[in-house]
């Protein structure tokens, strides 16, 4: 039974991979760019899902992590010579080097962001639930202001422009194509990593903590270590996504990562389905194709024509929460199970059972 599930998942995965590989044939450059964004959001959402879906820690600040990744990759790819061109004078102790290629900047950006996320995970241990949501929200709101304030490094309000990306190895594909494959290739690798983490010992520990920290402790899991690890890993993913984003649009400035992005990321991972890797793709598609995220300082865009989608998205979110707490993935899961004639599978929900036998808290 177990193997059947695994095999069918593998088949689906291969089919999806084939689809991704072949898609560019059927679309123009603009569409292609949109799907590159889907890959980018996919990576960010994978990370957020690990933190919130599998480990139960709410983060309303992942846009900030993406921003950090974007800035780091921009700085690294420009290097000191590049920054000089901007008339920027970063402090000498920053190891910026001479300008690196994406193959280095992306992982490094991820690593730096991951370390920052890991560091954030320590104070986060003392917060829970709504407090953590508030704290991460605070970080997300602050980032643009901080970026503007430390303009010797970040280029202030104007931000930094990266050199236009160049297809490596002299391959005969357009840059847009190359970026598409780069993004999806990275996404694929990171999906594999996530999958391995989640179904292994680490993932089990994460879920145990999510479902009841006291029980987890008594079964020998050290919550502190795993929770900070979750933060670090999810920040790493967001950092990589941010780095790819910076490369894709060739610039980064404080307005690229407003708080609305963080909120959108969180909302999308929930709608897609917390605690489900499949749901993440829906979340990513949602973010890209429900156009409410724009690069303006205020929370949501001013354009009249863009207001209606906000309303739709908000209502959508509410309805999903009321009717489908498992998100789109949960719905699919139920449909698949119904279709497969209710084979007994282990149902993995991210909701706790509402059990309160005598002796529980006064409601």
């Amino acid at each position: 039974m177990r193997h059947a599930g695994l095999v069918s998942k593998l088949v689906l995965l291969l089919a999806a991979a084939a689809l991704v590989a072949v898609l560019p044939r059927f679309m123009g450059e603009f569409r292609l760019s949109q799907f590159t964004f889907v890959a980018i959001y996919f990576i960010a959402l994978l990370g957020l899902n690990i933190l919130t879906g599998y480990n139960g820690q709410i983060s309303l600040g992942h846009g900030a992590f993406m921003g950090i990744g974007a800035y780091v990759s921009a700085l690294l790819s420009l290097g000191e010579p590049g920054l000089e061109l901007f008339a920027l004078d970063p402090p000498g102790w920053l190891p910026l080097g001479d300008g690196m290629r994406p193959v280095f900047t992306i992982p490094l950006a991820g690593l730096v962001t991951g370390l920052i996320g890991f560091a954030f995970g320590f104070p986060a241990l003392r917060l829970a639930g709504v407090s953590l949501a508030l704290a991460t929200f605070a970080v997300a709101v602050s980032l643009p202001s901080i970026a503007k304030r430390f303009d010797e490094v970040t280029g202030g309000g104007g931000g930094l422009s990266l050199n236009l990306p160049v297809t490596p190895f002299g391959l005969d594909v357009s840059t847009r194509h190359w970026l598409y494959y780069e993004a999806w290739g990275t996404a694929g690798i990171l999906l594999l990593v996530a999958w391995l983490l989640v179904r292994g010992r680490v993932g089990r520990a994460w879920r145990a903590i999510r479902d009841g920290q006291i029980a987890a402790v008594s079964s020998g899991v050290s919550p502190a270590a795993y929770k900070t690890l979750a933060f670090g890993v999810s920040a790493f993913y967001a950092g990589v996504a941010g780095a790819l984003l910076a490369i894709e649009v060739s610039f980064v400035n404080p307005d690229t990562f407003p708080v609305s992005l963080s909120i959108l990321l969180f909302a999308s991972v929930v709608v897609g389905g917390l605690g489900s890797l499949v749901g993440v793709i829906f979340g990513a598609l949602l973010i890209q194709f429900l156009p409410i995220y724009a690069q303006d300082p205020p929370l949501l865009p001013f354009d009249f024509s863009k207001q209606a989608p906000s309303v739709v998205f908000g209502v959508f979110l509410i309805v999903i929460m009321i009717a489908l707490p498992g998100g789109v993935a949960g719905l699919l899961h139920r449909l698949v199970r119904a279709a497969a004639n209710r084979l007994p599978t282990r149902h993995n929900t991210s909701e706790r059972l509402a059990v309160s036998p005598p002796g529980g808290k006064a409601q």
């Binding site: 104070p123 639930g129 949501a133 508030l134 602050s142 908000g314």
Partner: protein, 293 residues
């Protein structure tokens, strides 16, 4: 010295606005354990309603009163329609519903009224007067007064009326309230209604200065969060004290500390928020909440 006092006074005025919104957050949190991320947008929406009423010829104070009534009804409606279906679900779910409401309301506001910035009348004359060498703006005094009056009225309601008592009982122990015959659901709705009223007051007092646009209250909401956490998320007194204190502190820091200047005011408030959450999560006046971490 005079300048210092001036900063304190104007800090108190803006702090009164934070205090009102913070009190709204605390009210809902005490009753339902929910942090209403949409509190600011609800306030914005009702402020636009006031604007519309005034545009249609209603003078200020009648429009003000009518808006409060509409806000109350709106708050009750939101609780009954959106929150009730999910009130027994995990925190995450309810947080997301309020976030959904935030997004939807923000869009709706822009859709109905357009996204251009509008002017909003103040009921107070735009002049100043002198007290012992300190220049005080009438606006500031008026703002402070209105917010304070609203808070006091609310306090009296909770202290002296049966309904207020029942609401306090519900916030303390929902199950016991049911057993003595309280219709808990409607008490919660009432709480949301009153919170919406507080938000409307905050919005209408803020609008003349910050101007009316769909995202007007977002920043103020964050200050309100910081104030509520500073004062103690479950303490009404704390919300008021926290709001006033935050208003004054931010003002003084912005004026006297170069590093903060005008750009880092918000992050400073948030640094306060984070520090409080880490060092003393119960805030100044709250009770230590033992959370299932």
């Amino acid at each position: 010295m005079a300048e210092f006092l001036q900063q304190v006074v104007s800090g108190l005025a803006v702090g009164a606005i934070y205090a009102s919104l913070a009190l709204a957050l605390v009210l809902i949190y005490r009753a339902t354990d929910v942090l209403n991320f949409a509190q600011g947008e609800m306030a914005t929406f009702t402020t636009y309603v006031a604007w519309t009423l005034m545009n249609h010829g209603l003078s200020y104070w009648p429009a003000f009163a009518l808006t409060l009534a509409i806000a109350f009804a709106g708050g009750v409606g939101v609780e009954r329609v959106l929150i009730r279906p999910v009130e027994r679900r995990p925190e995450v779910v309810i947080v997301i519903v309020t976030i959904g409401l935030l997004i939807a309301l923000n869009g709706l506001t822009g859709w109905i009224w357009g996204a251009d910035v509008k002017a909003f009348d103040s009921p107070f004359p735009n002049d100043t007067f002198e007290v012992g060498g300190v220049t005080i703006s009438t606006q500031d005094v008026g703002t402070f007064g209105v917010c304070l009056a609203t808070v006091l009225l609310l306090w009296a309601f909770f202290r002296f009326t049966t309904l207020g008592l029942a609401m306090r009982a519900v916030a303390n122990n929902q199950n016991a309230s049911r057993l003595v015959g309280v219709r808990v659901g409607w008490m919660l709705a009432l709480g949301w209604g009153l919170a919406a009223v507080l938000g409307a007051v905050a919005g209408m007092m803020a609008a003349p200065t910050v101007f009316l646009d769909p995202s007007m209250m977002l920043v103020i909401l964050i200050y309100a969060f910081a104030a509520a956490v500073l004062g103690g998320i479950d303490s009404p007194v704390g919300a008021v004290v926290g709001g006033l204190a935050l208003g004054v502190i931010i003002n003084l820091l912005g004026a006297y500390v170069d590093f903060v200047g005008s750009e880092l005011r918000l992050p400073t408030a948030l640094a306060v928020l984070l520090l409080v959450l880490l060092i003393r999560p119960s805030g100044l006046f709250g009770h230590v909440v033992v959370r299932r971490v």
